[in-house]
């Protein structure tokens, strides 16, 4: 059976909606992560911060006199009130009941890996726990607490952004379920001293466990994001300082068949700013959502990682042990270890993200577009393709939730849930639905991030982006093999040494876009090499030489990576052609790229993938270009200013063009083009 491993794994999942209990009255005597002498009241943490040596030393340093000190202490108390979480069981029950109703409304199934819950339960009581869920939707926020409450696990303290805090009513409501709030400001030393100490108390003194999103924000692209290590290092510091023996870190994978925010994300990626969260807006949004069907969602606690086991031999905790913890900082080596760990966590999350039917359909549709053969893509062809993809993902190791005993049914169900993107026409052939984006033009007065794209462009871009959002979650599995194939395409008898150089170079280019952590590069290379050999995508000519085979998987990989490659190529070319001589800010690039590409695409240039309009991709391109020395970055009046290193940039553009010439793809999503406006 092609999907046996996935199937076996998915057997551990059970639909929570089938066994709901009344959350308002259910007994709640949760297992707690770490048993201490007594339970701690949330309020105590704040007082401990105010009493801590670290904070008091800091206060002494910054205060002019006694009065000033007192004033600063009051200020600190206010900040702590803003930060601090609370715990009101009645609020948890009420909110839980509401969420419970909402879940049943929105989702067909809420699948929970119950075996993973048992595994988690087995380690409860011994050590502090940090939950690190993937972050694809606001629903993630509620979900963890909901699952914990339902399965009698202590609800962790949850780090939340200030945007929630400012929602009248809702912020306070969330606070009472365990949310604590973090400002997104940088450089406010006073604030961060307090926040850091608060985190310290959560880890060392509280017994709830703590949850935050290691990606820092919802990934609008539905791909993994480069992890943020600030909060993580605060949370792990007590381990390095010898204040605690171990922390168990639980990466958590939450996958959605359809993300609630799908369309919002698409607009955001195109540069239409999202409306600010307001309570009214929130409920309005909720009301709009309720009538739709968002399919299945999957919740999985990955295997808990013991920090002591993971870092044990690599870190010398003794060097911090002879001085008090509060006068010390983590050194650079330790920060690197934390970054390693963060990337490890991201990968663990990604491995357990469940791939659904529609992810495969999106990939397949793209492939057919690029090969200019969408007309031949009927339901039956699609079915065959899915079978091929299933085999492929099985070997890659992904968890794919598709009922392969009745593929046709699965396809129809998936198509129905996402009927805003692809549609079935005529003789069961499939095509992308053009959007009608008229309504969004009313968003006047909103600050644009980039260029104001015209309706014609938006009508094309919105469906293409929507489709791409379903390709993106698979990139964790596809990006590395794709880079290999990309290096080899159009070449024969390639020296392994050269291959490695090329792979490393491409990794450096896509480092942020595809989260390719350099310190894993060597190991990744070995693993991917072995995998491709096993899949017979590459074959060894002799000890030093390899070639690409004629594997059907090659096109899967190439078409998966080409939207990103094309985006990078476009942005790089535009920067090189237009910004060689001057300094520029990222916004100028956004505008230039979007306007130039819009013009070209509406003219009928099918060598440009519409995803190149994606602001997030342009941003990662800029980061990468700085990273490999094609751009210089300097801060002027707190805005990043870039300038081009002409020589490096020129050779990069040539290189990318060279790679591109080996691709024979077209990006023709729609036949009819309206060029009247241009």
């Amino acid at each position: 059976m092609a999907t046996s491993n996935s199937k076996k794994y998915l057997e551990n999942y059970h639909n929570y909606l089938d066994k709901r209990v009344t959350l308002f009255t259910k007994p709640f005597d949760p297992l707690i992560p770490i048993k201490r002498n007594r339970r701690v009241l949330p309020e105590e943490l704040k007082f401990r911060v105010l009493k801590s040596q670290h904070f008091n030393n800091y206060l002494d340093k910054i205060s002019d006199n006694k009065n000033d000190r007192q004033q600063k202490e009051t200020e600190a108390m206010q900040i702590l009130t803003e930060i601090g979480f609370d715990r009101k069981i009645l609020v948890i029950r009420s909110l839980g009941t509401v969420i419970d109703k909402l879940m049943a409304q929105l989702y067909k199934n809420v699948f929970i890996n119950e075996q993973s819950i048992e595994r988690l339960k087995a380690i409860m009581g011994r050590q502090q726990i940090i939950y690190l869920p993937s972050h694809r939707s606001y629903v993630d926020f509620m979900l963890m607490s909901y699952v914990c409450f339902s399965y009698n696990l202590e609800i962790p303290a949850i780090a939340a952004g200030m945007d929630f805090h400012s929602m009248f009513g809702l912020g306070e409501l969330l606070r009472k379920t365990g949310a604590f709030f973090m400002r997104r400001t940088f450089g406010d030393e006073f604030y961060w001293n307090i926040f850091k100490e608060y985190m310290h108390e959560i880890i060392t003194y509280n017994d709830f466990g703590v949850e935050f999103f290691i990606e820092g924000t919802r990934s609008r692209t539905c791909k993994a994001l480069w992890p943020k290590t600030g909060l993580l290092s605060m949370a792990l510091e007590p381990f390095f300082m010898g204040e605690i023996y171990d922390i168990k870190v639980v990466p958590t994978s939450i996958s959605y068949e359809k993300v609630l925010e799908e369309q919002l994300f698409v607009y955001e990626l195109l540069g239409i700013p999202k409306p600010k969260e307001s309570t009214k807006g929130f409920f309005k949004a909720v009301k709009n959502l309720i009538d739709k069907n968002y399919g299945n969602m999957y919740f999985d606690f990955c295997e808990p990682i013991s920090l002591n086991d993971f870092l044990g031999n690599k870190v010398d905790r003794f060097r911090h042990a002879s001085e008090p913890a509060h006068i010390q900082k983590l050194n650079n080596d330790e920060l690197v270890l934390i970054t390693d760990f963060a990337h490890h966590v991201i990968r663990e999350q990604q491995k357990k993200i469940v791939i659904s039917t529609y992810n495969l359909i999106a990939l397949i549709y793209n492939q057919y577009v690029f090969l200019n053969s969408t007309e031949s893509l009927t339901i039956n062809v699609l079915q065959n393709e899915i079978e091929l993809y299933l085999k492929f993902f099985e070997v890659l190791g992904a968890i794919v939730a598709i009922d392969d005993t009745n593929l046709i049914k699965s396809i129809h169900e998936a198509m129905q849930i996402h009927d805003n993107i692809l549609e079935i026409v005529g003789e069961k052939s499939i095509r992308l639905k053009k959007a009608n984006t008229l309504a969004t033009r009313q968003n006047n007065g909103l600050k644009l991030k980039g260029h104001w794209l015209c309706k014609e462009m938006m009508d094309i871009a919105v469906p293409v982006f929507s489709l791409q959002l379903y390709c993106n979650p698979t990139m964790f599995w596809l990006s590395q093999p794709a880079i290999f194939v990309f290096s080899l395409i159009g070449r024969q008898n390639v020296k392994i040494e050269w291959l490695k150089k090329s792979v490393m170079h491409l990794r450096n280019i896509f480092i942020y876009e595809l989260v390719l952590y350099p310190r894993f590069a060597d190991e990744d290379f070995e693993k991917t090499y072995a995998l491709l050999e096993k899949l017979q995508i590459i074959c060894k000519i002799d000890d030093e030489t390899v070639s690409l085979t004629h594997s059907p998987y090659i096109n899967i990989l190439l078409s998966a990576i080409s939207p990103f490659f094309n985006s990078y190529l476009q942005t790089t070319q535009i920067i090189f052609n237009n910004f060689k001589e001057k300094k520029f800010a990222s916004k100028e690039i956004f505008i230039a790229v979007q306007s130039i590409l819009e013009h070209e695409m509406l003219k009928g240039n099918f060598s440009i993938h519409p995803y190149a309009l994606c602001l997030e991709t342009i941003t990662t391109t800029l980061l990468s270009l700085c990273n490999i020395g094609c751009l210089f970055k300097e801060k002027q009046d707190s805005v990043n200013q870039y300038s081009v290193h002409a020589e490096n940039m020129s050779s990069l553009v040539d290189e990318l063009k060279q790679y591109n010439s080996n691709l024979t793809f077209v990006y023709k999503y729609f036949n009819t083009l309206i060029s009247s406006k241009i």
Partner: protein, 609 residues
């Protein structure tokens, strides 16, 4: 060179002031003491059918009174099984004798023995490793010759002779080392000679005006205290091994006594010390209470662990016997509160002679050692428990108990008690009576016997200690326990016990004692190895949590791997320089303190000379 060996300034002691001390421990140690474990031969836990007893009349729990609670506790924790009692070997390795040395010793009419049993029982200390090896008769190399010098001059002669003939020397006092420091080096090729100091145990003189006494180093703790008690005095140094360990041994390991709050640790008690080295006698010729006289070489002798020379005579401070000795105890709702209370008491520097704080596990363990004294006592106990848990709301599975020992004149003790109970009250500490306190201290001496009971039944247990700053005291306890639990789990060990107690308090921190025991799987071929792996992990965690390599057990061999990080590489070099200066041939070749990589290569060194 010979000049250095004469006591630097010639003295003629009035021989009549010398008092011979009849030691409790005979020259033939094995007649009184166990050869295969801790303490007196007649005192041990034993199991008949299903009942558990402690034999002998030396300890309050003895006299073969049944200990049903302890049996139940052991049963609960470990699920006992019975192993065979060890048998004393009848054949021993042939002694390797250095002819010249051996003959000269005989000519000198020095007391000696080459008897296998005498040699066998002096090849080890009291680490788990030692005891396990001795029971399994696993020592390949045991001492070749035992000598019993009678005085400082005898020692001088032996050391000189050994140095001339390249014979290795092991100073041997009470044999209670728990660091592997006196364990016979198994790869030593030279003749190994043990200098047993037990016959060198006289009180040389006593000065009641200045309250100082001069003892020979071989006197064991209980003999020393008994001798002083006759004079209405005490030295007040009471390590848990006081029944068997010697003054010289205390100095060599930097020992600490239970009552250090009143009398100080060994380094505070010692005024002068005479150490015979291969290069001569090292001694500070000053009896004044304190001197500014460059680096203090007493500090080089303290903690030298038998590697630099042998201590022969010691001048110590003594104190008048206290009029009142009173026990006490406190119950805290949890260990954390107890630690906070101890910290406050230390801050105010009003510690009684001894104050110790047991965690909950150890409290239950101690409770189980109570004899079954019939219905009435049980009724009283359960009434107390009822009051504690139901009326005061203390959770018996969380409470922590402190034991107290007050010493001084009546008023002083009363004042102290009042203050302590006042402070305790602020930390929810309830008075729990004298008897509980006293029992706590009895447990101290008896606990060492439990390891032997365990070994007979497939349970391995051992204690280890550390010192730690106050702010890290609680987290260290928690971390080490978590570490041991996690390591047990990794090894599939189901039955185990970890408990701890704070046994000493200082201005800046405390001494913490851990007890760890587990039942080994019958499949496990090397339970001691398994134990040591776990203890090593625990020590790593102790150091990572801000604790020290050792508070008073010393480094020896089993903690050598952490010596360098504790004293810095320069510190190690400094020690090595001292070693090379005092003992270039490695006559005192116990190889303590240094790891194998750090050892001085004496062979190449001496071949160059």
């Amino acid at each position: 060179m010979s000049k250095n060996f004469d006591t630097n300034i010639a003295k003629t002691l009035d021989q009549t002031t010398i008092r011979n001390v009849e030691s409790v421990v005979p020259k033939k140690r094995q007649e009184l003491l166990k050869w295969y474990g801790w303490g007196y031969e007649d005192s041990k836990f034993h199991i008949d059918d299903y009942s558990l007893f402690f034999s002998g009349s030396r300890y309050p729990i003895g006299n073969d009174v049944e200990l049903p609670n302890f049996r139940d506790w052991m049963g609960q924790k470990f699920e006992l099984s019975v192993l065979e009692k060890p048998k004393l070997p009848t054949t021993f390795p042939e002694p390797i004798l250095n002819e010249t040395f051996y003959n000269t010793i005989k000519d000198m009419k020095m007391d000696y023995s080459v008897d296998g049993e005498d040699r066998f029982i002096r090849c080890h200390g009291q680490t788990l490793h030692d005891i396990y090896n001795i029971r399994a008769n696993k020592f390949k190399r045991i001492p070749d010759l035992i000598l019993w010098p009678k005085c400082h001059d005898d020692v001088v002669k032996i050391v000189k002779l050994a140095d001339e003939n390249n014979v290795m020397l092991i100073p041997f006092g009470g044999g209670t080392s728990v660091s592997g420091s006196i364990t016979c080096p198994q790869d030593e090729e030279r003749s190994i000679v043990v200098i047993d100091t037990s016959q060198m145990n006289r009180l040389l003189w006593l000065d009641k005006e200045n309250l100082v006494a001069c003892f020979e180093s071989g006197i064991i703790g209980q003999d020393l205290e008994r001798t002083l008690k006759d004079e209405g005095l005490t030295m007040g140094h009471e390590p848990d091994s006081i029944e068997f360990s010697t003054l010289g041994g205390w100095i060599a390991t930097r020992a600490s006594g239970m009552k250090k709050n009143v009398y100080g640790n060994i380094e505070d008690i010692v005024i002068r010390v005479k150490m015979v080295t291969c290069k001569g006698v090292l001694e500070r010729n000053i009896s004044a209470p304190r001197v500014s006289c460059g680096p203090d070489f007493n500090q080089l002798i303290l903690g030298s662990e038998g590697t630099l020379g042998i201590v022969t005579e010691v001048i110590v401070k003594v104190r008048p016997l206290p009029a009142v000795k009173k026990y006490g105890s406190l119950v805290f709702p949890n260990f954390e509160m107890g630690v906070s209370c101890l910290r406050e008491i230390a801050k105010r520097r009003c510690q009684p002679a001894s104050i110790r704080l047991m965690d909950n596990e150890q409290f239950h363990f101690g409770q189980s050692l109570k004899a079954d004294n019939g219905l009435f006592s049980k009724f009283i106990d359960s009434l107390k428990m009822f009051l504690l848990s139901k009326v005061k709301g203390y959770d018996l599975m969380k409470i922590s108990v402190a034991t107290l020992l007050f010493e001084g004149d009546k008023e002083e003790v009363e004042k102290q008690e009042k203050l302590i109970y006042e402070i305790a009250d602020r930390y929810s500490g309830l008075k729990a009576g004298e008897t509980n306190g006293q029992k706590g201290y009895v447990l101290t001496y008896v606990i060492a016997y439990i390891r032997d009971l365990g070994l007979n039944h497939g349970i391995i247990s051992e204690s280890f200690e550390t010192s730690v700053p106050w702010d890290k005291c609680l987290s260290l306890c928690i971390n080490v326990k978590a570490c041991i639990e996690s390591e047990c789990k990794k090894r599939g060990i189901i039955y185990y016990l970890v408990c701890y107690r704070v046994t000493q308090t200082y201005d800046a921190g405390a001494c913490v004692y851990f007890y760890f025991g587990f039942r080994w799987d019958s499949d496990c071929s090397d339970p001691v190895g398994q134990y040591e792996e776990i203890e090593n992990k625990a020590r790593d965690e102790i150091l990572a949590s801000g604790g020290s390599i050792s508070h008073h057990h010393g480094i020896g061999k089993i903690r050598a791997k952490w010596y360098k990080q504790s004293v810095s590489p320069i510190g190690v070099n400094l020690y090595k320089s001292a070693k090379l200066e005092l003992d270039p041939k490695n006559i005192f070749g116990l190889n303590n303190l240094l790891t194998e990589e750090d050892q001085i290569n004496f062979e190449t060194l001496n071949s160059k000379l």
